[in-house]
């Protein structure tokens, strides 16, 4: 119990005194997760739309596979991305290992199935008449997709928020691909893991609370997107 209280106090202290290590980790977290979210949304929204709206053979199987990928262990993703980015790997020359963009690749892979699966569910859940209505108003395939996604925005928001939660809390990829390098690729979660490993439980809890605070800020920023979408 003490750890929790101490952690709370410690969290405020770290933020108040602008602790450079904490802020460096926060920056790394924000950077890599932003990149990862951007990539996974850009890819995942259209793919999820196709998965939810299309009527092609094998669609159900594909959904099952995407759903299965929701259970991709982060360490597995970390290992696979590592295998590619390692100097000995096929993409070793890119020099992405132990960098934030490299880490973002792995996190985007983690987020992609979440965005896809939840986008598909959101699109499927829309009123059947929406697609017909858009076509009767003259929408092209692209306009249909865009408007459909916009009408499903509540569901997409849920998709994004969920994917964000995953990305921002994962440790496996950040350890393996990022490398938890101080001042460089140490994210808040790897810092928590490190502190916890050292037995600095209160410090770990403090960092966890700070991460939650970051998520709260992001979600407060999203509140207004929720407005106007329901009566």
């Amino acid at each position: 119990m003490n750890y929790i209280l101490e952690g709370l106090v410690q969290a405020f202290r770290l933020l108040a005194r602008g602790d450079p290590e904490t802020f460096s980790a926060l920056e790394a977290t924000v950077r890599s997760s932003s990149l990862a979210m951007l990539a996974s949304l850009v890819l995942g929204l259209p793919l999820g739309f196709v998965l939810g709206h299309g009527r092609f053979r094998g669609r159900r199987l594909l959904r099952t596979l995407v759903d299965t990928c929701l259970a991709l262990p982060t360490v597995l993703i970390g290992l696979v991305v590592y295998s590619f980015l390692s100097r000995r790997g096929p993409l070793g020359d890119w020099g992405m290992l132990f960098t934030l963009p490299g880490l973002a690749i792995g996190q985007a892979i983690l987020a992609l199935p979440v965005v896809m699966a939840l986008t598909a569910t959101a699109v499927e859940g829309l009123d059947r008449r929406l697609g017909l209505t858009l076509l009767t108003l003259g929408a092209s395939r692209r306009q249909l997709a865009l408007t459909t996604l916009w009408e499903a925005r509540q569901g997409l928001l849920a998709a994004a928020v969920n994917a964000y939660g995953r990305v921002v809390t994962e440790v496996g990829i950040a350890m393996m691909v990022g490398g938890n390098i101080k001042w460089h690729t140490r994210t808040v979660t790897t810092a928590i893991a490190l502190e916890t490993g050292k037995g600095e439980f209160a410090q770990g809890i403090a960092l966890g609370i700070i991460l939650l605070g970051l998520a709260l800020l992001v979600n407060l920023g999203l509140i207004r997107l929720r407005r106007g979408a329901t009566p």
Binding site: R87, I181, K182
Partner: protein
């Protein structure tokens, strides 16, 4: 001067704060920025094998030798050591206090006293496995009293104290544990100081023949710097909770 040196090391060097202490001094004196990833010993060596780091600093002599023999590393240099202690509950139900290591292990088995092993192929775990071997004992893999944690040292200590068991621990982590428990830890040192409990750290440069892109020049500068009298003195001066932790022993 300048440049970045990438190192893979075991968690203990990072957790104790040694690297946080050495790296800025090293950078000030040589202009080289030391970046490190702290992981299990096995993974650190594997990263070296894959040319993803330029230098490794680890403590598992057997694995290190294989690493060098396989051609992945060159110029293995012992730089320092600390030591392990055998911890247990103060009431010592297996009665190992004052015994030799071999007697102690036999007694643990006899009493089926809970023993928490790191179980993660870390330097500490390798040391423990070696101790069983030297004592002529089978590693009690499936015995119910032999708990294999597969975790870092500190969490293993927690596990041991929750289970009121014995465990092997490096002295640095024990200092921390002791301090966190206001000097009255639930586990106390029952056996220490035996020569086989020494924990030797070595620095190994990644073999440039295998890894053309490895920054061997920087790696060698670092290795030399650690082994230099200046580096060795810095190590000796490093204190945790006011106590010296590492003993420099570069030849």
């Amino acid at each position: 001067a300048g440049g970045q040196l990438m190192m893979a090391t075991t968690t203990s060097t990072d957790d104790t704060g040694l690297l946080n202490y050495l790296a800025p001094i090293f950078q000030k004196e040589t202009g080289i920025e030391l970046k490190w990833t702290a992981t299990g010993t096995g993974k650190a060596l594997e990263l070296g094998k894959n040319c993803d780091v330029d230098v490794v600093l680890v403590h598992a002599p057997g694995a290190e030798k294989k690493f060098v023999e396989s051609g992945a590393g060159v110029n293995r240099r012992q730089v320092m050591y600390n030591d392990f202690v055998l911890l247990g509950p103060a009431d010592d139900p297996a009665g190992i206090k004052g015994k030799t290591m071999a007697q102690a292990l036999a007694s643990l088995r006899q009493h089926k006293a809970i023993f928490v092993s790191r179980g993660d192929k870390s330097g500490t775990h390798m040391m423990e496995l070696g101790l069983w071997k030297k004592a002529g004992e089978q590693v009690p893999d499936k015995e119910s009293w032999y708990v294999q944690a597969g975790q870092g040292m500190y969490k293993t200590l927690i596990l041991a104290s929750e289970k009121k068991g014995y465990t092997l621990c490096d002295r640095g982590t024990f200092f921390k544990f002791e301090a966190d428990n206001q000097g009255h830890p639930p586990l106390v040192v029952l056996l220490e100081g035996e020569p086989e409990l020494l924990n030797q750290y070595s620095v190994i440069e990644v073999n440039p023949a295998a890894c053309p892109k490895a920054k061997q020049d920087l790696a060698k500068r670092f290795s030399d710097w650690l082994a230099s009298p200046h580096g060795q003195k810095l190590m000796a001066d490093f204190k945790v909770y006011g106590k010296q932790l590492f003993t420099p022993n570069a030849q």
